[in-house]
Protein backbone atom coordinates (compact mmCIF):
# COMPACT_ATOMS: atom_id res chain seq x y z
CA UNK A 1 0.00 0.00 0.00
CA UNK A 2 1.34 3.35 -1.03
CA UNK A 3 -0.26 4.86 2.01
CA UNK A 4 1.95 3.16 4.54
CA UNK A 5 5.04 2.71 2.45
CA UNK A 6 5.45 6.34 1.54
CA UNK A 7 8.21 8.18 3.33
CA UNK A 8 7.51 11.47 5.08
CA UNK A 9 8.89 13.66 2.38
CA UNK A 10 8.36 11.28 -0.47
CA UNK A 11 6.58 12.63 -3.47
CA UNK A 12 3.34 11.01 -4.44
CA UNK A 13 3.46 10.11 -8.05
CA UNK A 14 -0.19 9.40 -8.35
CA UNK A 15 -1.73 12.87 -8.66
CA UNK A 16 0.44 13.74 -11.64
CA UNK A 17 -1.13 11.28 -14.05
CA UNK A 18 -4.51 12.91 -13.87
CA UNK A 19 -7.50 10.81 -14.60
CA UNK A 20 -5.64 7.65 -15.29
CA UNK A 21 -4.95 6.67 -11.69
CA UNK A 22 -6.63 3.67 -10.21
CA UNK A 23 -7.80 5.71 -7.24
CA UNK A 24 -6.66 5.57 -3.68
CA UNK A 25 -9.91 4.18 -2.49
CA UNK A 26 -9.30 0.98 -4.38
CA UNK A 27 -6.21 0.40 -2.28
CA UNK A 28 -7.56 1.59 1.02
CA UNK A 29 -11.14 0.48 1.15
CA UNK A 30 -12.97 1.48 4.26
CA UNK A 31 -11.98 3.64 7.17
CA UNK A 32 -12.50 3.16 10.85
CA UNK A 33 -16.17 3.65 10.09
CA UNK A 34 -17.03 6.05 12.88
CA UNK A 35 -19.07 8.92 11.52
CA UNK A 36 -17.67 12.35 12.34
CA UNK A 37 -20.14 14.51 10.49
CA UNK A 38 -23.51 13.66 9.09
CA UNK A 39 -25.84 15.85 7.09
CA UNK A 40 -29.43 14.63 7.06
CA UNK A 41 -31.89 16.03 4.55
CA UNK A 42 -30.26 19.44 4.35
CA UNK A 43 -32.12 22.09 2.39
CA UNK A 44 -30.68 25.58 2.08
CA UNK A 45 -32.52 28.42 0.39
CA UNK A 46 -31.56 32.01 -0.37
CA UNK A 47 -34.89 33.69 -0.99
CA UNK A 48 -36.33 31.86 -3.98
CA UNK A 49 -33.10 30.10 -4.90
CA UNK A 50 -32.49 26.67 -3.48
CA UNK A 51 -28.75 26.10 -3.11
CA UNK A 52 -28.96 22.67 -1.48
CA UNK A 53 -31.91 20.28 -1.80
CA UNK A 54 -32.54 17.48 0.69
CA UNK A 55 -28.96 16.35 0.71
CA UNK A 56 -27.81 13.56 2.98
CA UNK A 57 -24.31 12.20 3.39
CA UNK A 58 -21.76 11.47 6.05
CA UNK A 59 -18.05 11.95 6.61
CA UNK A 60 -16.26 9.12 8.35
CA UNK A 61 -13.35 9.39 10.70
CA UNK A 62 -9.97 9.36 9.03
CA UNK A 63 -11.19 9.50 5.46
CA UNK A 64 -10.71 12.00 2.67
CA UNK A 65 -14.17 12.83 1.46
CA UNK A 66 -14.43 14.74 -1.81
CA UNK A 67 -17.39 16.80 -2.90
CA UNK A 68 -17.50 17.33 -6.64
CA UNK A 69 -19.92 18.76 -9.14
CA UNK A 70 -20.28 21.39 -11.87
CA UNK A 71 -20.19 25.11 -11.05
CA UNK A 72 -23.13 26.24 -8.98
CA UNK A 73 -23.89 22.72 -7.82
CA UNK A 74 -23.91 23.81 -4.18
CA UNK A 75 -20.56 22.39 -3.11
CA UNK A 76 -19.29 25.48 -1.37
CA UNK A 77 -22.68 25.95 0.25
CA UNK A 78 -22.30 22.50 1.79
CA UNK A 79 -18.99 23.48 3.35
CA UNK A 80 -20.49 26.76 4.52
CA UNK A 81 -23.32 24.84 6.18
CA UNK A 82 -20.87 22.52 7.90
CA UNK A 83 -18.78 25.41 9.17
CA UNK A 84 -21.75 27.55 10.16
CA UNK A 85 -21.60 30.44 7.70
CA UNK A 86 -25.00 29.31 6.40
CA UNK A 87 -27.86 27.82 8.36
CA UNK A 88 -30.04 25.38 6.46
CA UNK A 89 -33.82 25.80 6.59
CA UNK A 90 -34.40 22.08 6.81
CA UNK A 91 -32.45 19.07 7.91
CA UNK A 92 -30.23 17.98 10.73
CA UNK A 93 -26.50 18.23 11.24
CA UNK A 94 -24.90 15.58 13.43
CA UNK A 95 -21.37 16.14 14.62
CA UNK A 96 -19.44 13.63 16.70
CA UNK A 97 -22.55 11.69 17.56
CA UNK A 98 -24.66 14.64 18.64
CA UNK A 99 -27.14 16.78 16.81
CA UNK A 100 -25.83 20.28 16.42
CA UNK A 101 -28.02 23.29 17.06
CA UNK A 102 -27.68 26.62 15.31
CA UNK A 103 -24.16 27.76 16.13
CA UNK A 104 -22.06 30.69 15.02
CA UNK A 105 -19.00 29.98 12.85
CA UNK A 106 -16.56 30.90 15.62
CA UNK A 107 -18.29 28.51 18.00
CA UNK A 108 -18.04 25.76 15.42
CA UNK A 109 -14.34 26.50 15.04
CA UNK A 110 -14.01 25.88 18.77
CA UNK A 111 -15.66 22.49 18.27
CA UNK A 112 -12.75 21.44 16.08
CA UNK A 113 -13.80 22.23 12.53
CA UNK A 114 -11.20 24.19 10.57
CA UNK A 115 -11.33 25.27 6.95
CA UNK A 116 -9.68 26.99 4.04
CA UNK A 117 -11.39 29.18 1.46
CA UNK A 118 -11.84 29.08 -2.27
CA UNK A 119 -10.58 32.64 -2.56
CA UNK A 120 -7.70 32.72 -0.12
CA UNK A 121 -8.73 34.37 3.12
CA UNK A 122 -5.49 35.07 4.93
CA UNK A 123 -4.58 37.93 7.23
CA UNK A 124 -2.63 39.74 4.56
CA UNK A 125 -0.80 42.23 6.74
CA UNK A 126 0.48 39.53 9.10
CA UNK A 127 3.48 37.27 8.64
CA UNK A 128 3.25 33.59 7.80
CA UNK A 129 4.12 32.77 11.38
CA UNK A 130 1.44 35.06 12.84
CA UNK A 131 -1.14 33.76 10.40
CA UNK A 132 -0.56 30.18 11.43
CA UNK A 133 -0.43 31.30 15.05
CA UNK A 134 -4.01 32.59 14.77
CA UNK A 135 -4.97 29.03 14.01
CA UNK A 136 -3.97 28.19 17.59
CA UNK A 137 -6.44 30.68 19.08
CA UNK A 138 -9.03 28.02 19.78
CA UNK A 139 -6.41 26.15 21.79
CA UNK A 140 -5.20 29.06 23.91
CA UNK A 141 -6.46 29.37 27.45
CA UNK A 142 -4.63 32.20 29.17
CA UNK A 143 -6.79 35.23 29.78
CA UNK A 144 -5.98 38.67 28.56
CA UNK A 145 -4.73 40.07 31.86
CA UNK A 146 -2.29 37.27 32.40
CA UNK A 147 -1.08 37.75 28.86
CA UNK A 148 -0.62 41.43 29.45
CA UNK A 149 1.58 40.71 32.38
CA UNK A 150 3.37 38.00 30.39
CA UNK A 151 4.11 35.79 33.31
CA UNK A 152 4.25 32.12 34.15
CA UNK A 153 1.60 30.03 32.50
CA UNK A 154 0.89 32.54 29.75
CA UNK A 155 4.49 32.58 28.65
CA UNK A 156 4.80 28.81 28.82
CA UNK A 157 1.62 28.50 26.80
CA UNK A 158 2.85 30.92 24.16
CA UNK A 159 6.05 28.91 23.84
CA UNK A 160 4.15 25.64 23.47
CA UNK A 161 2.01 27.11 20.72
CA UNK A 162 5.05 28.49 18.99
CA UNK A 163 6.55 25.00 18.93
CA UNK A 164 3.40 23.52 17.44
CA UNK A 165 3.38 26.22 14.79
CA UNK A 166 7.05 25.67 13.95
CA UNK A 167 6.31 21.99 13.42
CA UNK A 168 3.59 22.86 10.95
CA UNK A 169 5.93 25.25 9.18
CA UNK A 170 8.49 22.46 8.87
CA UNK A 171 5.85 20.05 7.71
CA UNK A 172 4.65 22.38 4.95
CA UNK A 173 8.23 23.32 4.02
CA UNK A 174 7.70 27.05 4.33
CA UNK A 175 10.57 27.91 6.70
CA UNK A 176 11.92 30.45 4.24
CA UNK A 177 8.82 32.64 4.39
CA UNK A 178 8.17 32.53 8.14
CA UNK A 179 8.58 36.26 8.59
CA UNK A 180 7.16 37.40 5.26
CA UNK A 181 3.82 39.23 5.23
CA UNK A 182 1.57 36.81 3.38
CA UNK A 183 0.22 39.50 1.06
CA UNK A 184 3.57 39.40 -0.73
CA UNK A 185 3.65 35.66 -1.30
CA UNK A 186 2.81 33.98 -4.58
CA UNK A 187 -0.59 32.34 -4.85
CA UNK A 188 0.55 28.77 -4.36
CA UNK A 189 2.39 29.57 -1.15
CA UNK A 190 -0.55 31.56 0.18
CA UNK A 191 -2.71 28.47 -0.28
CA UNK A 192 -0.14 26.52 1.67
CA UNK A 193 -0.08 29.04 4.52
CA UNK A 194 -3.85 28.89 4.64
CA UNK A 195 -3.66 25.12 4.98
CA UNK A 196 -1.12 25.63 7.74
CA UNK A 197 -3.43 27.95 9.64
CA UNK A 198 -6.24 25.39 9.45
CA UNK A 199 -3.88 22.60 10.58
CA UNK A 200 -2.69 24.65 13.54
CA UNK A 201 -6.09 24.18 15.15
CA UNK A 202 -5.48 20.41 15.10
CA UNK A 203 -8.99 20.02 13.75
CA UNK A 204 -11.05 16.87 14.01
CA UNK A 205 -12.61 17.83 10.68
CA UNK A 206 -10.72 19.80 8.06
CA UNK A 207 -12.65 21.46 5.23
CA UNK A 208 -10.74 22.43 2.10
CA UNK A 209 -12.55 24.52 -0.48
CA UNK A 210 -10.77 23.99 -3.80
CA UNK A 211 -7.28 23.70 -2.33
CA UNK A 212 -5.75 23.43 -5.80
CA UNK A 213 -7.75 25.99 -7.75
CA UNK A 214 -5.56 28.15 -9.94
CA UNK A 215 -2.40 26.14 -9.30
CA UNK A 216 0.05 24.83 -11.84
CA UNK A 217 0.83 21.12 -12.11
CA UNK A 218 3.78 21.24 -9.76
CA UNK A 219 1.92 23.19 -7.09
CA UNK A 220 -0.95 20.74 -7.39
CA UNK A 221 1.39 17.84 -6.82
CA UNK A 222 2.80 19.50 -3.73
CA UNK A 223 -0.63 20.28 -2.35
CA UNK A 224 -1.87 16.73 -3.02
CA UNK A 225 1.12 15.39 -1.17
CA UNK A 226 0.46 17.64 1.80
CA UNK A 227 -3.20 16.66 1.93
CA UNK A 228 -2.33 12.97 1.84
CA UNK A 229 0.37 13.47 4.46
CA UNK A 230 -1.97 15.35 6.78
CA UNK A 231 -4.46 12.52 6.46
CA UNK A 232 -1.84 9.84 7.00
CA UNK A 233 0.40 11.37 9.63
CA UNK A 234 -2.20 13.02 11.82
CA UNK A 235 -5.20 10.92 10.85
CA UNK A 236 -7.12 14.11 10.15
CA UNK A 237 -10.54 13.70 8.61
CA UNK A 238 -10.74 15.84 5.49
CA UNK A 239 -13.63 17.01 3.35
CA UNK A 240 -12.57 18.77 0.19
CA UNK A 241 -14.05 20.35 -2.89
CA UNK A 242 -12.02 20.02 -6.04
CA UNK A 243 -12.55 20.50 -9.74
CA UNK A 244 -9.59 18.54 -11.05
CA UNK A 245 -11.13 15.09 -11.46
CA UNK A 246 -7.78 13.38 -11.69
CA UNK A 247 -6.77 14.80 -8.33
CA UNK A 248 -10.07 13.88 -6.75
CA UNK A 249 -9.93 10.31 -7.97
CA UNK A 250 -6.42 9.94 -6.59
CA UNK A 251 -6.96 11.62 -3.23
CA UNK A 252 -10.43 10.71 -2.14
CA UNK A 253 -11.61 7.66 -0.27
CA UNK A 254 -15.22 8.46 -1.04
CA UNK A 255 -16.85 11.02 -3.28
CA UNK A 256 -20.14 12.93 -3.13
CA UNK A 257 -21.34 14.23 -6.48
CA UNK A 258 -23.67 17.21 -6.55
CA UNK A 259 -25.58 18.90 -9.32
CA UNK A 260 -28.17 21.67 -9.05
CA UNK A 261 -28.04 21.42 -5.27
CA UNK A 262 -28.87 17.73 -5.24
CA UNK A 263 -26.72 14.78 -4.42
CA UNK A 264 -26.58 12.64 -7.57
CA UNK A 265 -23.88 10.20 -6.61
CA UNK A 266 -22.04 8.88 -3.59
CA UNK A 267 -19.38 6.22 -3.26
CA UNK A 268 -15.81 5.29 -4.02
CA UNK A 269 -14.15 7.05 -6.95
CA UNK A 270 -14.67 3.99 -9.09
CA UNK A 271 -18.37 3.77 -8.25
CA UNK A 272 -18.83 7.41 -9.03
CA UNK A 273 -16.95 7.28 -12.27
CA UNK A 274 -19.23 4.65 -13.66
CA UNK A 275 -22.40 6.32 -12.36
CA UNK A 276 -24.61 7.38 -15.26
CA UNK A 277 -26.10 10.43 -13.56
CA UNK A 278 -22.62 11.68 -12.81
CA UNK A 279 -21.47 11.22 -16.36
CA UNK A 280 -24.52 13.07 -17.60
CA UNK A 281 -23.94 15.98 -15.22
CA UNK A 282 -20.37 16.34 -16.36
CA UNK A 283 -20.98 15.84 -20.06
CA UNK A 284 -23.83 18.30 -20.05
CA UNK A 285 -26.90 16.25 -20.84
CA UNK A 286 -29.94 18.52 -20.87
CA UNK A 287 -31.59 18.98 -17.49
CA UNK A 288 -35.32 18.66 -17.29
Amino acid sequence: MIRNGRSFDGRVDAPADSGAGTGRAAETPGTSGAVVMELRGITLRFGGVTAIRETTFDIQEGEIRAIIGPNGAGKSSVLNVINGFYHPQEGEIWYQGRQRGVLKPHQIAHQGIARTFQNIALFRGMTTLDNIMTGRLTRMKSGIFRQLAWWGPAEREETEHREAVEQIIDFLEIQAIRKTPVGRLPYGLQKRVELGRALAAEPSLLLLDEPMAGMNVEEKEDMSRFILDVNDEFGTTIALIEHDMGVVMDLADRVVVMDYGRKIGDGTPDDVRSNEAVINAYLGVAHD
Partner: protein, 332 residues
Amino acid sequence: MSPGFFYGIEVVLNGLMTGVMYSLVALGFVLIFKASGIFNYAQGVMALFAALTLVGFQDGQIPFSHLINAVFGTKIHHFGWHLPAILAVLFALGVMILFAWLVEKLILKHLVNQEPIILFMATIGLAYFMEGFGDLMWGADIKTLDVGMPQGGNLWIEESTAFLGGEDFYGFYLDNLDIWASVVALVLVVSLVLLSQYTKIGRALRAVADDHQAALSVGISLRVIWVIVWSVAGFVALVAGIMWGSKSGVQFSLSLIALKALPVLMLGGFTSIPGAIIGGLIIGVGEKLFEFLLGAPFLGGATENWFAYMLALVFLVFRPQGLFGEKIIERV
Protein backbone atom coordinates in the same frame (compact mmCIF):
# COMPACT_ATOMS: atom_id res chain seq x y z
CA MET B 1 23.50 82.35 22.15
CA SER B 2 20.67 84.66 21.24
CA PRO B 3 17.42 84.66 23.19
CA GLY B 4 15.72 83.94 19.87
CA PHE B 5 17.40 80.53 19.79
CA PHE B 6 16.10 79.60 23.23
CA TYR B 7 12.71 80.91 22.35
CA GLY B 8 12.84 78.63 19.31
CA ILE B 9 13.57 75.66 21.56
CA GLU B 10 10.65 76.60 23.76
CA VAL B 11 8.45 76.70 20.68
CA VAL B 12 9.59 73.19 19.76
CA LEU B 13 8.92 71.91 23.28
CA ASN B 14 5.47 73.42 23.31
CA GLY B 15 4.91 71.99 19.84
CA LEU B 16 5.75 68.54 21.16
CA MET B 17 3.24 68.96 23.98
CA THR B 18 0.50 70.08 21.63
CA GLY B 19 1.42 67.20 19.36
CA VAL B 20 0.85 64.73 22.18
CA MET B 21 -2.66 66.10 22.60
CA TYR B 22 -3.33 65.60 18.87
CA SER B 23 -1.91 62.10 19.12
CA LEU B 24 -4.32 61.18 21.88
CA VAL B 25 -7.24 61.80 19.58
CA ALA B 26 -5.58 60.18 16.58
CA LEU B 27 -4.94 57.07 18.68
CA GLY B 28 -8.65 56.40 19.02
CA PHE B 29 -9.06 56.53 15.25
CA VAL B 30 -6.17 54.15 14.66
CA LEU B 31 -7.52 51.58 17.11
CA ILE B 32 -10.89 51.29 15.44
CA PHE B 33 -9.48 51.55 11.94
CA LYS B 34 -6.97 48.80 12.59
CA ALA B 35 -9.49 46.39 14.00
CA SER B 36 -12.46 46.97 11.75
CA GLY B 37 -11.36 49.05 8.79
CA ILE B 38 -13.87 51.68 9.89
CA PHE B 39 -12.91 55.31 9.88
CA ASN B 40 -14.77 56.34 13.02
CA TYR B 41 -16.03 59.84 12.37
CA ALA B 42 -17.51 59.87 15.86
CA GLN B 43 -14.18 59.65 17.69
CA GLY B 44 -14.10 63.39 18.45
CA VAL B 45 -17.68 63.36 19.65
CA MET B 46 -16.87 60.34 21.79
CA ALA B 47 -14.18 62.42 23.51
CA LEU B 48 -16.70 65.20 24.07
CA PHE B 49 -19.33 62.79 25.35
CA ALA B 50 -16.85 61.09 27.67
CA ALA B 51 -15.78 64.44 29.12
CA LEU B 52 -19.39 65.57 29.53
CA THR B 53 -20.24 62.35 31.33
CA LEU B 54 -17.21 62.70 33.57
CA VAL B 55 -18.12 66.25 34.58
CA GLY B 56 -21.72 65.21 35.02
CA PHE B 57 -20.83 62.43 37.43
CA GLN B 58 -18.32 64.56 39.26
CA ASP B 59 -20.72 67.43 39.86
CA GLY B 60 -23.66 65.18 40.56
CA GLN B 61 -25.69 66.51 37.64
CA ILE B 62 -29.04 64.87 37.04
CA PRO B 63 -29.00 63.40 33.53
CA PHE B 64 -31.73 64.67 31.18
CA SER B 65 -32.69 67.31 33.74
CA HIS B 66 -33.58 69.84 31.01
CA LEU B 67 -35.84 67.32 29.35
CA ILE B 68 -37.44 66.34 32.64
CA ASN B 69 -37.93 69.99 33.58
CA ALA B 70 -39.46 70.81 30.22
CA VAL B 71 -41.90 67.90 30.34
CA PHE B 72 -42.91 67.97 34.00
CA GLY B 73 -42.35 71.63 34.82
CA THR B 74 -39.91 70.70 37.61
CA LYS B 75 -36.75 72.60 38.41
CA ILE B 76 -34.24 69.85 39.15
CA HIS B 77 -30.61 70.09 38.11
CA HIS B 78 -28.19 68.51 40.61
CA PHE B 79 -28.27 65.63 43.03
CA GLY B 80 -26.28 67.72 45.43
CA TRP B 81 -23.25 65.49 45.86
CA HIS B 82 -19.78 65.58 44.39
CA LEU B 83 -17.91 62.43 43.42
CA PRO B 84 -14.15 62.08 43.88
CA ALA B 85 -12.39 62.35 40.52
CA ILE B 86 -11.20 58.76 40.43
CA LEU B 87 -14.72 57.40 41.02
CA ALA B 88 -16.16 59.69 38.37
CA VAL B 89 -13.53 58.53 35.89
CA LEU B 90 -14.40 54.91 36.59
CA PHE B 91 -18.12 55.58 36.11
CA ALA B 92 -17.42 57.47 32.89
CA LEU B 93 -15.34 54.53 31.69
CA GLY B 94 -18.25 52.25 32.50
CA VAL B 95 -20.51 54.43 30.39
CA MET B 96 -18.05 54.27 27.47
CA ILE B 97 -17.96 50.47 27.69
CA LEU B 98 -21.74 50.38 27.75
CA PHE B 99 -21.65 52.68 24.75
CA ALA B 100 -19.29 50.30 22.92
CA TRP B 101 -21.64 47.41 23.62
CA LEU B 102 -24.59 49.38 22.29
CA VAL B 103 -22.74 50.42 19.14
CA GLU B 104 -22.00 46.77 18.42
CA LYS B 105 -25.53 45.67 19.22
CA LEU B 106 -27.41 48.40 17.38
CA ILE B 107 -25.12 49.30 14.48
CA LEU B 108 -22.14 47.07 13.69
CA LYS B 109 -23.94 43.76 14.07
CA HIS B 110 -26.30 44.72 11.27
CA LEU B 111 -23.55 45.93 8.95
CA VAL B 112 -21.24 42.90 8.90
CA ASN B 113 -19.45 42.52 5.57
CA GLN B 114 -20.71 45.87 4.29
CA GLU B 115 -18.48 48.24 2.35
CA PRO B 116 -16.24 50.47 4.52
CA ILE B 117 -18.00 53.55 3.14
CA ILE B 118 -21.32 52.31 4.56
CA LEU B 119 -19.77 51.84 7.98
CA PHE B 120 -18.15 55.25 7.69
CA MET B 121 -21.54 56.82 7.00
CA ALA B 122 -22.98 54.96 9.96
CA THR B 123 -20.36 56.57 12.19
CA ILE B 124 -21.29 60.02 10.80
CA GLY B 125 -24.84 59.36 11.88
CA LEU B 126 -23.55 58.12 15.21
CA ALA B 127 -21.52 61.33 15.66
CA TYR B 128 -24.51 63.60 15.14
CA PHE B 129 -26.70 61.45 17.33
CA MET B 130 -24.19 61.48 20.17
CA GLU B 131 -23.66 65.20 19.88
CA GLY B 132 -27.37 65.81 20.38
CA PHE B 133 -27.69 63.07 22.96
CA GLY B 134 -24.81 64.51 24.99
CA ASP B 135 -26.50 67.93 24.96
CA LEU B 136 -29.81 66.41 25.97
CA MET B 137 -28.29 64.38 28.75
CA TRP B 138 -25.91 66.91 30.30
CA GLY B 139 -26.88 70.32 28.93
CA ALA B 140 -25.12 72.49 26.36
CA ASP B 141 -23.39 74.95 28.69
CA ILE B 142 -19.61 75.16 28.91
CA LYS B 143 -18.30 73.25 31.93
CA THR B 144 -14.98 73.27 33.70
CA LEU B 145 -13.28 69.98 34.25
CA ASP B 146 -10.86 69.48 37.11
CA VAL B 147 -9.75 65.96 37.96
CA GLY B 148 -6.94 67.23 40.14
CA MET B 149 -4.22 67.45 37.53
CA PRO B 150 -1.71 70.25 38.12
CA GLN B 151 -2.16 73.18 35.83
CA GLY B 152 -0.23 76.27 34.91
CA GLY B 153 3.45 76.68 34.13
CA ASN B 154 5.99 74.36 35.68
CA LEU B 155 8.06 76.66 37.89
CA TRP B 156 10.81 74.15 38.53
CA ILE B 157 11.60 73.78 34.83
CA GLU B 158 11.38 77.50 34.36
CA GLU B 159 13.72 78.34 37.20
CA SER B 160 16.26 75.65 36.55
CA THR B 161 16.63 76.54 32.89
CA ALA B 162 16.74 80.30 33.36
CA PHE B 163 20.54 80.38 33.61
CA LEU B 164 20.89 79.14 30.02
CA GLY B 165 20.08 82.46 28.36
CA GLY B 166 20.92 86.03 28.98
CA GLU B 167 19.01 88.61 30.93
CA ASP B 168 16.00 88.54 28.68
CA PHE B 169 15.50 84.79 29.08
CA TYR B 170 13.51 83.55 32.06
CA GLY B 171 13.66 79.80 31.41
CA PHE B 172 11.41 77.48 29.43
CA TYR B 173 7.70 77.79 30.03
CA LEU B 174 5.97 74.40 29.97
CA ASP B 175 2.42 73.77 31.12
CA ASN B 176 2.11 71.12 33.83
CA LEU B 177 -0.99 69.76 32.18
CA ASP B 178 0.89 69.21 28.93
CA ILE B 179 3.64 67.37 30.76
CA TRP B 180 1.06 65.13 32.37
CA ALA B 181 -0.60 64.53 29.04
CA SER B 182 2.73 63.43 27.58
CA VAL B 183 3.32 60.92 30.35
CA VAL B 184 -0.20 59.54 30.08
CA ALA B 185 0.06 59.29 26.29
CA LEU B 186 3.37 57.47 26.56
CA VAL B 187 1.97 54.91 28.98
CA LEU B 188 -1.12 54.49 26.83
CA VAL B 189 0.84 53.90 23.66
CA VAL B 190 3.27 51.45 25.18
CA SER B 191 0.48 49.39 26.68
CA LEU B 192 -1.56 49.43 23.47
CA VAL B 193 1.41 48.33 21.39
CA LEU B 194 2.15 45.52 23.82
CA LEU B 195 -1.50 44.52 23.77
CA SER B 196 -1.70 44.37 20.00
CA GLN B 197 1.66 42.71 19.34
CA TYR B 198 2.06 40.18 22.09
CA THR B 199 -1.29 38.95 23.29
CA LYS B 200 -3.92 36.58 22.04
CA ILE B 201 -6.42 39.44 21.97
CA GLY B 202 -4.01 41.56 19.96
CA ARG B 203 -3.51 38.83 17.41
CA ALA B 204 -7.27 38.39 17.20
CA LEU B 205 -7.67 42.15 16.71
CA ARG B 206 -5.27 42.18 13.81
CA ALA B 207 -6.91 39.12 12.32
CA VAL B 208 -10.36 40.70 12.42
CA ALA B 209 -8.92 43.82 10.80
CA ASP B 210 -7.67 41.78 7.86
CA ASP B 211 -10.47 39.36 7.08
CA HIS B 212 -13.79 38.84 8.84
CA GLN B 213 -14.59 35.41 7.43
CA ALA B 214 -11.15 34.03 8.04
CA ALA B 215 -11.25 35.39 11.58
CA LEU B 216 -14.52 33.58 12.20
CA SER B 217 -13.12 30.38 10.78
CA VAL B 218 -10.28 30.32 13.31
CA GLY B 219 -12.73 30.79 16.15
CA ILE B 220 -12.66 34.54 16.75
CA SER B 221 -15.96 36.10 17.76
CA LEU B 222 -16.33 39.33 15.81
CA ARG B 223 -18.81 40.71 18.31
CA VAL B 224 -16.53 40.26 21.29
CA ILE B 225 -13.62 41.82 19.43
CA TRP B 226 -15.66 44.81 18.33
CA VAL B 227 -16.94 45.49 21.81
CA ILE B 228 -13.36 45.31 23.09
CA VAL B 229 -12.05 47.63 20.38
CA TRP B 230 -14.78 50.21 20.84
CA SER B 231 -14.35 50.04 24.59
CA VAL B 232 -10.64 50.71 24.28
CA ALA B 233 -11.35 53.51 21.80
CA GLY B 234 -13.89 54.85 24.29
CA PHE B 235 -11.23 54.74 27.00
CA VAL B 236 -8.79 56.63 24.77
CA ALA B 237 -11.57 59.13 24.01
CA LEU B 238 -12.09 59.57 27.74
CA VAL B 239 -8.40 60.26 28.28
CA ALA B 240 -8.35 62.72 25.38
CA GLY B 241 -11.53 64.30 26.73
CA ILE B 242 -9.98 64.72 30.18
CA MET B 243 -6.83 66.32 28.78
CA TRP B 244 -8.54 68.67 26.34
CA GLY B 245 -11.40 69.35 28.72
CA SER B 246 -9.01 70.32 31.52
CA LYS B 247 -7.17 72.57 29.11
CA SER B 248 -9.97 74.42 27.41
CA GLY B 249 -13.21 73.49 29.16
CA VAL B 250 -15.79 70.92 28.18
CA GLN B 251 -17.76 72.37 25.32
CA PHE B 252 -18.97 71.48 21.89
CA SER B 253 -15.79 72.63 20.16
CA LEU B 254 -14.06 69.69 21.84
CA SER B 255 -15.52 67.42 19.18
CA LEU B 256 -13.76 69.46 16.51
CA ILE B 257 -10.31 68.43 17.72
CA ALA B 258 -11.05 65.31 15.71
CA LEU B 259 -10.39 67.38 12.61
CA LYS B 260 -6.84 68.03 13.74
CA ALA B 261 -6.37 64.29 14.10
CA LEU B 262 -6.90 63.79 10.38
CA PRO B 263 -3.58 65.25 9.21
CA VAL B 264 -1.92 63.38 12.07
CA LEU B 265 -3.32 60.14 10.71
CA MET B 266 -2.23 60.93 7.18
CA LEU B 267 1.30 61.46 8.38
CA GLY B 268 1.51 58.55 10.75
CA GLY B 269 -0.57 56.12 8.79
CA PHE B 270 -4.05 54.95 9.67
CA THR B 271 -2.87 51.59 10.94
CA SER B 272 0.09 52.42 13.16
CA ILE B 273 -0.17 53.18 16.86
CA PRO B 274 3.38 54.58 17.15
CA GLY B 275 2.66 56.37 13.87
CA ALA B 276 -0.21 58.25 15.49
CA ILE B 277 2.16 59.51 18.16
CA ILE B 278 5.01 60.47 15.84
CA GLY B 279 2.56 62.03 13.39
CA GLY B 280 1.06 64.09 16.19
CA LEU B 281 4.48 65.27 17.32
CA ILE B 282 5.51 66.23 13.80
CA ILE B 283 2.30 68.18 13.28
CA GLY B 284 2.55 69.83 16.69
CA VAL B 285 6.17 70.90 16.28
CA GLY B 286 5.76 71.65 12.59
CA GLU B 287 2.88 74.06 13.00
CA LYS B 288 4.40 75.89 15.96
CA LEU B 289 7.80 76.17 14.31
CA PHE B 290 6.35 77.21 10.97
CA GLU B 291 4.36 79.92 12.70
CA PHE B 292 7.42 81.07 14.63
CA LEU B 293 9.89 81.08 11.75
CA LEU B 294 7.81 81.95 8.71
CA GLY B 295 4.18 82.48 9.58
CA ALA B 296 4.34 85.31 12.07
CA PRO B 297 7.21 87.26 10.50
CA PHE B 298 6.31 86.92 6.81
CA LEU B 299 2.81 85.54 6.29
CA GLY B 300 0.79 87.60 8.71
CA GLY B 301 0.41 84.81 11.30
CA ALA B 302 -2.40 82.36 12.07
CA THR B 303 -0.71 79.70 9.96
CA GLU B 304 -1.39 77.09 12.63
CA ASN B 305 -4.91 76.83 11.30
CA TRP B 306 -3.90 75.43 7.95
CA PHE B 307 -0.30 74.23 8.18
CA ALA B 308 -1.23 70.70 9.30
CA TYR B 309 -3.62 70.18 6.40
CA MET B 310 -1.08 71.40 3.88
CA LEU B 311 1.50 68.98 5.26
CA ALA B 312 -1.04 66.18 5.05
CA LEU B 313 -1.71 67.06 1.43
CA VAL B 314 1.98 66.78 0.61
CA PHE B 315 2.05 63.37 2.28
CA LEU B 316 -1.00 62.20 0.36
CA VAL B 317 0.82 62.93 -2.88
CA PHE B 318 4.14 61.32 -2.03
CA ARG B 319 3.43 58.69 0.58
CA PRO B 320 -0.24 57.84 0.80
CA GLN B 321 0.20 55.07 3.38
CA GLY B 322 1.81 57.55 5.79
CA LEU B 323 5.15 57.17 7.52
CA PHE B 324 4.37 53.98 9.38
CA GLY B 325 1.24 52.60 7.77
CA GLU B 326 1.18 49.07 6.45
CA LYS B 327 2.42 48.93 2.90
CA ILE B 328 -0.40 48.86 0.44
CA ILE B 329 0.29 45.53 -1.19
CA GLU B 330 -1.42 44.78 -4.44
CA ARG B 331 -0.48 41.78 -6.52
CA VAL B 332 -1.27 42.20 -10.18
